[in-house]
């Protein structure tokens, strides 16, 4: 009577499950499970990380920085105005489908649901962009994600804070232009873009093509397939074409492989420039002294320790509560994870100024992120003096800052080697508008009206 037993069992299970999840069902069905703040005084931060797989060497320091800063907020400030910070990690392995699964898993946790998602993957960002709109959860993509999501009228829940790939590539073109005595002198030059063949690597192409048209330099597009350990063909092309500069848009093991290939091909490293994800310690350390002269644009910060790092060491690592190894504190990607967490926390803080000192719902955090105003004084108080510059966002500009400088690897450490550059918004803004409008048209979505919202509320 196996069948009958099975049926009885199934019936029993489903009854129990129905009873158990009845309450959850009621909450889950709503479009925005915005629960009342009657629960514990906690703010839940989901952490989409990758500690395994091909991109782990870069994913781990970022995840550790992210976790450490959230712990620091509890240890140093006693939470966000008394609201304790909790967080949980979910492993994505840099895979889009697992990232979506993690998002679904974590989005309703905590008394007010997930505060903000930071997937550290442009592919996952693309997949989550629509879902976060439905769920009304903000998505911070500090230094990655869709370049056109700067347009807050089209992407109300995306926050590519501190800079996009269009900003990064624009700054790089400005820099090599300056080295040649002005961007107009780039005419007839050849720039190769060696990029990770994914949404991440393809993002800068549109801007570089625009710049190539303006200044008359030739752009070579050289894609590298995931995970990027096989680049022989790419570097053969570079050897044949002899580009004047190589821009490296890689991630994970692809970057160090590219540098090794450059050494093998004899391509001068000081003609190579990486994006901010391609100019960190894991990228150059495997090549060591041979990578000397290789430069990259920074997401404002470089390597090195500021006051906030000292706080983390004093309050966490010295008490054995650090997330990762102690000597990782202050490396490029660690600091970036830390900044990303800080931006999320500051979004909550800004929202609390308006809505009251209690756990914020994700909708309220979205307002906070859209009205972020971190001036130098606030940054100093947080210990971020010298790490980053003030940043302020608005309904129209979800990026907040578009500047960066160049740092160069001297064989043992990163040093800043240029002044600040400001990405040319004259060029980028129209492109953002065009791309965002295409997105809205494809999705049949209306455009928000910032002017109306400003006067209305």
């Amino acid at each position: 009577m196996k069948l009958a037993t099975f049926k009885a069992l199934a019936a029993a299970v489903s009854v129990v499950a129905a009873l158990g999840s009845g309450a959850a069902f009621a909450q889950d069905k709503g479009k925005a499970p915005a629960k009342a703040a009657a629960g514990p005084m906690e703010q839940f931060f989901p952490a989409l990380v990758y500690r395994t797989g091909a991109y782990a060497p870069n994913g781990v320091p970022f995840a550790n920085g992210y976790g450490d800063y959230l712990k620091l907020v509890n240890a140093r400030d006693g939470g966000i105005n008394g609201v304790k910070v909790t967080y949980e990690e979910c492993e994505t392995g840099y895979a889009t489908d697992r990232g979506v699964e993690c998002y679904e898993r974590l989005k309703t946790k905590g008394p007010t649901g997930a505060t903000v998602f930071q997937p550290l993957s442009t592919g996952i960002t693309y997949a989550l962009t629509d879902k976060t709109v439905t769920d009304k959860i903000p998505l911070i993509t500090a230094g990655y994600g869709r370049a056109d999501s700067v347009d807050g009228e089209a992407f109300p829940y995306n926050f590519p804070l501190m800079g996009t790939y269009w900003d990064a590539s624009d700054i790089l073109v400005q820099h090599v232009g300056k080295l040649n005595g002005g961007v107009s002198n780039l005419k007839g030059k050849k720039i190769a873009l060696v990029y990770h063949d994914s949404p991440y690597g393809k993002e800068p192409i549109a801007l570089l093509q625009e710049r190539a048209k303006m200044h008359g330099f030739e752009l070579l597009l050289l894609p590298v397939t995931h995970p990027g350990v096989e680049q022989k063909a790419t570097w053969l092309q570079i050897r044949q074409q002899r580009p004047d500069y190589v821009f490296l848009w890689g991630w994970g093991v692809m970057n160090s492989t590219a540098l090794k290939e450059a050494v093998a091909t004899g391509y001068p490293r000081d003609k190579m420039y990486g994006v901010w994800w391609a100019s960190a310690e894991p990228d150059v350390l495997p090549v060591g002294a041979d990578a000397k002269g290789y430069s990259g644009v920074t997401l404002q910060h470089g390597a090195g320790r500021a006051k906030v790092h000292e706080d983390i060491i004093k309050l966490l690592h010295d008490k054995n509560q650090g997330t990762g190894p102690k000597d990782e504190v202050g490396t490029v990607l660690y600091t970036r994870g830390m900044i990303s967490a800080m931006l999320g926390v500051e979004g909550v803080k800004r929202a609390q100024e308006r809505f009251g000192k209690r756990p914020m719902t994700h909708e309220e955090v979205r307002w906070g992120l859209e009205n972020l105003a971190l001036d130098q004084k606030k940054l100093d108080a947080l210990g971020f003096a010298g790490v980053m510059r003030p940043i302020s966002t608005s309904c129209r500009d979800h990026g907040g800052a578009h500047s960066g400088r160049i740092h160069t690897w001297d064989g043992t450490k990163w040093n800043f080697t240029s002044d600040w550059y400001e990405a040319d918004q004259q060029i980028i803004q129209p492109m953002i508008k065009k791309s965002a409008n295409a997105y809205l048209a494809e999705k049949k979505l209306p455009r928000r009206d910032c002017a109306k919202e400003l006067t209305g509320g």
Binding site: K2, A18, A24, T52, E89, T122, S198, Y200, A206, S435
Partner: protein, 354 residues
């Protein structure tokens, strides 16, 4: 005692040839379908729908497709994710270039486009067999990956190569809530299952199985290998194409070519090997095994309250998952569907086994 067909006399050809000749089976299947349509939406959470059930249903369609080709016709394919990609991109292009087209039509057309591509890549099967064919179908995988990454027209000149279509709309019904997506996908799955089940029972299905068992003998008794093999490729790719379109539109919402890479092809193949080759039901089991098990394993330490680092959990997930695959293949090389069949046989004799 309960599962016995005594006294069920078949008096017409129709009743003899129906899909489920045993009354108890019929009740059971109707019960399962009713439960799936009515009870599951009441019980399952958002997370269960989006992360477990919907991917399972969609990949079950793809697995059925692959099972038709590999399990029924004996032609191995390592490129099935490519046919899914063709379906997804075909649907995307149909939606943006032909506005106002009903999504069911889009789905069918996407399947047909995938079927055409499947036929093209199935042509080598007329000359080569076994492992050599596997390598040839691998070409489909790489070619399609390359095509959608390079030919900008397919992605509507998206700057990042990632496409994200609008929500599915059916006769004014916007399918955006998990429950609605679930119903829609379940509906498609039921139709596709019926289609597959009837196809493999028909003369076409019999010609596939004849080719699988021995192609020389099959051609001697009058089955044209050309028709049988290419029709298997076409039907199989049609299923994959429909599944791909659903995967992109309903599950992911936005995707890049990497979403249909070779890992997915391998996963589909694992599904039918673990689930059971030459069994529609096995495709379901296999899809459930591959989709649901890793996620359960990933969350188990947390549920049990065992503190463990994220990396450790992931590594354990891979180890246990791999071990379980090996275990099931050793315990039952014919797949989970075979275990099910054995269970049914035993049930017939229960409680008085000879």
């Amino acid at each position: 005692m309960l599962y016995r067909e005594n006294g069920q006399f078949k008096t017409t050809y129709g009743s003899d040839q129906q899909l489920l000749p045993i009354t108890q089976d019929r009740f059971f299947v109707w019960g399962v379908v009713a439960l799936a349509f009515l009870l599951v939406p009441l019980v399952a959470s958002d997370y269960a729908f989006r992360a477990l059930i919907i991917p399972f249903l969609i990949l079950a369609i793809a697995a059925i497709g692959l099972n038709i080709l590999v399990g029924y016709c004996g032609q191995i394919s390592l490129g099935h994710a490519a046919f899914m990609a063709v379906g997804a991109y075909a649907a995307y292009n149909l939606v943006i270039r032909v506005p106002g087209l009903n999504f069911l039509v889009v789905l069918a057309l996407a399947g047909l486009v995938a079927a055409l591509v499947g036929i093209v890549f199935g042509v080598p099967s007329l000359r080569i067999k076994g492992l050599y064919l596997a390598v040839a179908t691998l070409a489909a995988q790489f070619f399609v990956d390359w095509m959608f990454a390079r030919v900008k027209w397919f992605t509507n000149y998206s700057s990042s190569g990632s496409v994200s279509p609008a929500n599915v709309e059916l006769f004014g019904w916007v399918i955006d809530q998990p429950v609605e997506k679930y119903w829609f996908v379940l509906g498609v799955l039921v139709v596709m299952t019926l289609l597959a089940k009837n196809l493999v029972r028909s003369h076409i299905g019999r010609s596939w199985m004849a080719i699988r068992d021995m192609d020389v003998a099959a051609s001697v008794i009058g089955i044209q290998p050309l028709h049988a093999k290419l029709s298997a490729f076409a039907v199989s790719s049609f299923f994959a194409g429909v599944a791909g379109a659903l995967w992109g539109f309903v599950h992911l919402g936005a995707w890049e070519p990497l979403a249909f890479n070779i890992t997915l092809s391998f996963n589909l193949l694992f599904m039918i090997i673990i689930g059971g080759m030459g069994s529609i039901l096995g495709s379901y089991f296999g899809a459930a095994f591959i989709v649901v098990l890793p996620l359960v394993l990933n969350q188990l330490p947390n549920m049990l309250g065992i503190p463990m680092s994220t990396a450790m959990i992931s590594h354990l997930e891979f180890i246990v998952f791999g071990a379980l695959i090996v275990f099931f293949l050793i315990a039952e090389p014919h797949g989970l569907a075979r275990l099910w069949a054995i269970g049914k046989e035993k049930l017939r004799l229960w409680p008085f086994p000879h």
